[in-house]
């Protein structure tokens, strides 16, 4: 196997005295889509926050694109090529759709993702470019949030719960963009509570449970029972 794009070893994180992550090992290869599944409070979002530098980790071993990024600030992680679509979208309310997208490009790298490319990916946004970002529907806001992250031309895109609170049809539209993002050379990590969606989109799955990786594998090799056990911490057969 070639050198992974991202490799994490022994990552531990705390909120005060509360330990949120325990010795996490994780990797993403070039051109790979990886899904992280798990129940609320399993540590998925915390893990993404640590990767982006928003939250401090204890284990100092996060190698991205061949260099150590543990402990460096979020803006510098971004410049190295990691972008995140935060949970809840968090568009800037006083900025228009286009300004929200342009903010994403500040300090980013050159590459295929431009305003035109984002509007091409999400044509719904074209007519809304002058509207305040938060005046859009939930699905369109999510498109802006993804476009904003893409504008920096990241090597790795982290998506935190992008289907949360959206109608199934909208979720389908948003996930339809994933292969196109992939084709332009960006690896993707999606944090997802919808297991079916995660299995459909990912090359590999990590399941988090109470701050630990409880299961890894490919969608083809994982059984429903494995996932249920890793997800909820109970054996389906025992539960039955």
């Amino acid at each position: 196997m070639t050198q992974p794009l991202l490799e994490v070893r022994g990552l531990t994180a705390f909120y005060g005295d509360f330990q949120a992550l325990f010795e996490i090992g994780f990797s993403v290869a070039e051109d790979e889509t990886v899904a992280i599944i798990g129940a609320n409070g399993a540590g998925k979002s915390t893990f993404l926050r640590v990767l982006t530098g928003l939250h401090a980790s204890v284990g100092q071993d996060i190698v991205f694109s061949g260099s150590q990024i543990a402990g460096i600030s979020a803006d510098r992680v971004h410049k190295r090529g990691i972008a995140m679509v935060p949970e809840g979208r968090r568009l800037f309310p006083s900025l228009s759709v286009e300004e929200n997208l342009l903010i994403g490009a500040s300090g980013g790298r050159d590459g295929p993702w431009t305003l035109d490319a984002v509007y091409d990916l999400f044509p719904d946004l074209t007519s809304k470019r002058r509207n305040p970002g938060t005046a859009l529907s939930g699905g369109q806001q999510q498109m802006v949030a993804i476009g904003r992250a893409l504008m920096s031309n990241p090597k790795l895109l982290l998506c935190d719960e992008i289907s949360l609170g959206l109608a199934p049809k909208i979720i389908k539209d948003i996930y339809a963009a994933v292969p196109r993002i992939h084709d332009l050379g960006t690896s993707i990590v999606v944090v997802e509570q919808d297991v079916g969606q995660a299995l459909a989109v990912a090359d590999r799955i990590y399941c988090f449970q109470e701050g630990r990786v409880s299961l890894t594998g490919t969608p083809e090799t994982l059984t429903r029972a494995d996932i249920a056990k890793a997800y909820f911490g109970i054996d389906e057969e025992e539960a039955a």
Binding site: L54, S73, D75, H78, R90, S94, I103, R148, A149
Partner: protein
């Protein structure tokens, strides 16, 4: 007719108050940070102008540029290396630190320049006026100061809505936590905001120095006027701040027209009236 005169004088005075307020509003808007030393920074700028023009003999126009550059640079460095260290969820540390700065600045000015009132003379400009009729005459200096205030506010508006820096400052004002996810360095952005605010403070201080007498203890009253103008106008709205400044200025000149002793009181009463009737100000920010 004397009331119309008072009204017009108040409008012109409002431009200066809007400048006092703009810097304060900008820092609060971007960093949620109340700078208690804001008025003292204005007075420091006034003393810098006085020192460069009267003592160092610099051309007044060069002097203005010099004061703006010095204040902006000091603003950037002060924010980056001092105030950023106390910014956080707790609003008390920045208030305490800037309160301390206020005391230090007042005493330093007292030590250096004594307690005497000072003023930067503007020569023939001081007496030049445009007479509209027998009663109403507008001083040329107040008119120029009002125009300067409008120009500075227009420049701020342009920076905020038509430049990448303005976009970044508005985004930081909305949600500073995730701006680093877009590659923004908050410590640098905060320092740029203070740099911009300090540039405005510099112009306000220069205008103050030309308009009226000042002494080392003149800062807190300017801070109060700035607060009142911001609250009257509504937070986060540059033209609202101008309106706030004008309402305060007009209230003061109308008060002074009734009785000289009522000048400051009338301004405070107008402020209280707005607080009671429209607690979010006359032109509150509608988004966010």
């Amino acid at each position: 007719m004397v009331w119309i005169n008072a009204l017009l004088q108040g409008v012109l005075l409002g431009g200066l108050y809007a400048l006092f307020a703009a810097g304060l509003s900008l820092m609060f808007g971007v960093m949620r940070f109340v700078n208690i030393a804001h008025g003292d920074f204005i007075v420091v700028a006034a003393y810098l102008m006085m020192t460069s023009v009267l003592i160092a003999g610099v051309n007044p126009f060069v002097g203005i540029g010099l004061v703006v550059v010095i204040m902006a640079a000091a603003g950037y460095l002060g924010q980056r290396f001092l105030l950023n260290r106390v910014l956080g969820k707790d609003i008390l540390p920045p208030i305490l630190v800037t309160f301390g700065l206020s005391i230090i600045l007042q005493n330093a000015l007292l030590e250096i320049f004594s307690a005497d009132s000072r003023r930067v003379q503007t020569g023939w400009l001081e007496t030049a006026s445009i007479s509209l009729n027998d009663v109403v005459a507008l001083g040329l200096l107040p008119i120029l100061m009002f125009v300067a205030a409008l120009a500075v506010l227009a420049l701020l508006q342009w920076i905020f809505y038509h430049t990448a820096l303005g976009r970044l400052l508005r985004a930081t004002s909305d949600d500073a936590e995730i701006v680093p996810l877009m590659g923004g360095n908050n410590a640098h952005i905060f320092a740029l905001a203070t740099m911009l605010a300090s540039g405005v403070v510099a112009v306000a201080g220069v205008l103050l120095a030309m308009k009226t007498n000042f002494d080392p203890t003149a800062g807190p009253a300017r801070l109060l006027f700035a607060f009142e103008a911001v609250i009257i106008g509504g937070l986060g709205n540059i033209w609202g701040t101008l309106a706030g400044g004008i309402v305060l200025g007009v209230a003061q000149t109308i008060g002074a027209q009734i009785d000289t002793g009522y000048q400051v009181l009338a301004g405070h009463l107008a402020f209280l009236a707005v607080l009671v009737l429209r607690p979010r100000g006359l032109f509150p920010k509608t988004i966010g």
